[in-house]
């Protein structure tokens, strides 16, 4: 980790700004854009802070921020309310449980763990949708959306890099 880039742990900077950025990203990517028959991918931006916040340090506000982010996503996409909050919180909880093993790991190791968290979140969302609709969602579509979400890991790495060493109590 680049110790020189460490910033003080201000909730506005490590929680509110990333959450707003995720909301803005979801809004921009929800625009009906299409070029030559190809449409914009639709990644789950909120999985980036869900992973990064769990690694930076235990937090009281982070789960509620994820709850709000997930509800915003459900309303924007007209999903069943509560679907993405559950998936995000599951990814956050699993990552938080593995936090002692993840702190200080390399970029590629953390990317692998991020992929596992994304897989867990998508598996839960897929299972719940299957349960509610009685129809299995398209696995190829899930794979594509999960893949695009996995490509967002550098953003999570940047967030972790900026704030992981800010609170020495949880080092």
């Amino acid at each position: 980790m680049a110790a020189g880039a460490v910033q003080p742990l201000n909730p506005l900077r490590w929680l509110a700004l990333p959450a707003l950025a995720c909301g803005g990203g979801a809004l921009i990517f929800a625009a009906p854009m299409e070029a030559m028959g190809l449409r914009l991918p639709e990644p789950i931006f909120a999985l980036v802070p869900a992973f990064a916040w769990a690694i930076i340090r235990p937090s009281i506000l982070a789960p509620f921020a994820l709850l709000v982010l997930g509800l915003f996503q459900d309303l924007l996409w007209a999903n069943a309310l509560g679907l993405w909050p559950l998936a995000l919180l599951a990814a956050y909880g699993l990552t938080a449980m593995a936090r002692p093993a993840l702190s200080g790991q390399s970029f590629w190791t953390l990317w692998a763990w991020y992929l596992a968290a994304v897989t867990a979140a998508f598996a839960l969302a897929c299972g719940l949708t299957w349960l509610m609709a009685g129809e299995a969602p398209d696995l190829l579509g899930l794979g594509l959306q999960g893949g695009v979400t996995a490509l967002l890991f550098p953003l999570a790495w940047r967030l972790i890099d900026a704030f992981e060493d800010a609170d020495i109590r949880f080092k």
Binding site: P32, L81, G141
Partner: protein
């Protein structure tokens, strides 16, 4: 003693999880257990619609610009193509006029009642949820323009979906590809019925297909009108085969779904003349006046004869009993 932050964080996670589960259980899309969820969705769509209209405006302008440039660059080849199409269309136009005339005469002969044209409103889509778990769009017309839940939505090529939520100036469209979408359809060649079932992929499945005549790749699929939610005969797509069975390549996928038309279709009673389904008031039964008994005739000779109760029925509305003329005929001689 202050509890450690780690424990408080675990408690916060547990509370957030419980809240998420409670919200998920309480709100089921299409059948919310608490009406506040629908109101929240409507308000959210009302707010987000204009915001997304601004965000998506550059994309719309860009596409229109690209279309204008490509139309200019491709003008020569388009001209040749259009001339060929025009020549072909003239031939079909003559056939169409002949068939239309024949059709009108046959309809008149058979007394077939044709459905009146349905009113519709045009809309622009501003939000596009296209993941495998949700395929919906937000259109910029709503209850103020007469849009209601369940209204079918078409693009210029075919059926797109139906309206599942309406705010005053916005409406939410559930696309045919959504995992919750179920639309009764028929295969035009065989008249076989099926349910078009979305799964988040680009080609929805043909489920519950019951027919002796198996579908063929390229068969046209139309709405069947079964269930009365969507009128019959709207174009849906063509049959394609996949590893899992028969699917439908949607007509509406052949071009971007920027503009849509929302059919203001409620149910089939809308296609009848006003009052045609109103309950009829039947005329009262006409009964013969009571015959006086011999015991009652004696006092009746002294008293003025009572007026027999006669139902005041207009003659034209009461059908004459069949037996009456026969009796009259037999008693005449």
């Amino acid at each position: 003693m202050k509890p450690p932050l780690a424990w408080l964080a675990v408690a916060a996670l547990a509370v957030a999880l419980i809240a998420a589960v409670a919200i998920f259980v309480a709100d089921r899309r299409g059948a919310p257990l608490f009406p506040a969820a629908s109101e929240v969705r409507e308000k959210f769509d009302s707010v987000m619609g204009p915001v997304e209209a601004v965000i998506s405006a550059p994309a719309h302008w860009g596409r229109e610009g690209v279309n204008a440039v490509s139309a200019y660059v491709m003008a020569g080849s388009q001209n040749r193509k259009l001339k060929a199409e025009l020549a072909e269309t003239r031939f079909y136009g003559d056939q169409l006029n002949s068939l239309r005339d024949e059709n009108a005469r046959l309809r008149a002969l058979l007394g077939v009642r044709t459905d009146p044209p349905l009113p519709m409103v045009g809309a622009r889509t501003v939000v596009d949820a296209r993941g495998p778990l949700s395929n919906t769009r937000l259109a910029d017309v709503g209850a103020d323009q007469g849009v209601m839940e369940g209204n079918p939505v078409l693009s210029e090529h075919g059926l797109v979906g139906r309206v599942i939520g309406v705010a005053p100036s916005m409406s939410r469209i559930l696309l045919l590809t959504d995992v919750d979408s179920r639309v009764p359809v028929l295969i035009a060649r065989t008249n076989a019925r099926a349910i078009l079932t979305g799964d988040g992929g680009p080609t929805p499945k043909l489920a519950y297909l019951r027919t002796h005549d198996a579908p063929q790749v390229g068969d046209r699929v139309l709405t069947s009108g079964d269930g009365g939610v969507i009128p019959r005969g709207l174009p849906v797509g063509t049959v394609v085969q996949s590893l899992e069975g028969w699917r439908v390549a949607l007509d509406c996928d052949s071009a971007p779904i920027d503009f849509v038309r929302i059919l203001l279709f409620r149910d089939f009673s809308q296609l009848l003349a006003p009052g045609a389904m109103a309950p009829k008031i039947l005329p009262p039964l006409a009964t013969a006046p009571p015959t006086p008994t011999p015991a009652a005739q004696a006092p009746a000779a002294q008293a003025p004869p009572p007026k027999a109760p006669v139902a005041k029925v207009p003659k034209a509305e009461v059908p004459a009993p069949q037996s009456a003329p026969a009796r009259a005929e037999s008693s005449d001689p």
